[in-house]
Subunit: 257 residues, 2 copies
């Protein structure tokens, strides 16, 4: 059976470098942000003020690559399938290991992920199209502003799953029970109402089919911090590559808050 530990081991040894939706069902997946200590207060405050896109699961001490609460013994420098390295707000590399660029002043933030509630949706017979289509989840920048904090500000980023209206209602009930995994949707229907010009062209991840009778349903997304990083332009940062998450030892039911 696939566990969080086996997925982390596969990432560490370079055997798994792809997206993680659907892997190690029942284990919580997390978004990663690593920032120098002198940027950490502003970012922690950004997460506190924007808990829907940025529900914090664990924050390390500066210089410690081990998330002692979320996955004791793991190493955040090697245990994700793919990373993004940022300099002055520009994406400069997408390596599968960041030991060579790691710095002793980095604080790591693990943020809840919508993949957590997808198992619960599937269990109830609700469609999760990108899992069905074996794609990365589609994600979009919106025109909804986050609450700023220090040097961080930026738009809410959302993930999207197409559903019928009745399914969207049921999904809302299910996801409301997972406040640490983005909770209930923030919008459904017309994408332009939240500033998304073309549902077929996501800003991150891959497009999925929206079928007759379905509407797009949008959830706050843990990629939101990457949009804020691009605006704040810290001199250095490391994140996960969208859709390529960290597998924690936390269990989905613990995300009920």
């Amino acid at each position: 059976m696939q566990t969080a530990a086996t997925v982390r081991a596969a990432c560490r040894t370079g055997r798994h470098t792809g997206p993680t939706p659907g892997l190690a069902a029942g284990f919580v997946q997390a978004n990663l942000v690593m920032l120098p200590k002198d940027w950490a207060f502003d970012f922690l405050l950004f997460c506190q003020r924007n808990p829907k896109p940025c529900p914090l699961l664990d924050v390390t001490d500066a210089g410690d690559p081990e998330p002692k609460h979320a996955a004791p013994g793991a190493d955040l420098r090697t245990d994700l399938p793919a990373y993004r390295v940022w300099k002055n707000g520009e994406l400069v590399a997408e390596p599968t290991d960041v030991r060579d660029v790691w710095r002793a002043d980095l604080v790591s933030f693990l943020i809840g992920c919508s993949f957590t509630f997808e198992a619960a949706l599937i269990e109830r017979g609700l469609p999760v199209r990108h899992v069905e289509q074996n794609r990365n989840v589609p994600m979009y920048r919106t025109n909804l502003p986050c609450r700023p904090a220090g040097r961080f500000r930026g738009p809410l980023v959302v993930s999207m799953r197409p559903m019928t209206p009745a399914q969207a209602v049921e999904a809302t009930r299910v996801c409301d029970g997972f406040p640490l995994a983005h909770g209930a949707p923030i919008h459904f229907g017309d994408p332009t109402a939240i500033g998304i010009p073309d549902i077929h062209r996501p800003d991150y991840g891959e497009a999925v089919d929206v079928r007759a009778g379905e509407v797009p349903v949008f959830w706050a997304c843990g990629v939101t911090p990457q949009a804020a990083l691009a605006e704040a332009r810290p001199p250095f940062a490391i994140t996960h590559k969208p859709g390529h998450m960290f597998l924690t030892e936390l269990r989905d039911h613990q995300m009920k808050g």
Copy 2:
């Protein structure tokens, strides 16, 4: 009718300087911690790692005395009934206004309070003894350690309400629904099991009667940061005086997370 705004105004003008349990029912009350900016990251992390005693309701920017999320227009320097001023971890004053000691580098933290769920308990016919006896709630240092964060560490502080076992079960169900107000109890029964030598001698607040057939029931308490401050000894800090809380514009039902 008494509102949060009328209580804050009474504090600001010095007409109210006493404890706040039972005041402005339905409005969320909050614990206050003010720290210099260079201590703010460690404290924010302490709250993130200890959400049961330290559920964050609002955090201000450095130098801003207005809690823009929790109570727009309020002034945290004047709108509490009583404060504690700390130097190097020692309590040096208990003024009713802190404008004269305010510093432009202070970050203010507002933390959820058990008074929030007391209205829900009373509504269900459950006893809240210190309200009945018109006293401040009894609070105790325990031998349960908080998760440390940077320079902050210390014991969990708890509040106590005596109940019959059946009432304690019902109170657990009610309070579990308020994760931003300390949630379900952390212990009931034998106080020595969590390091409290004498239930009649609280470390903060006032003792209340425990009647025949009742057991003490303990909840994580927002005074926990004050025990951590006493250990970390930051050069300067301001807190509320225990039991003398800040009245926010947030409503109790919003503390359901």
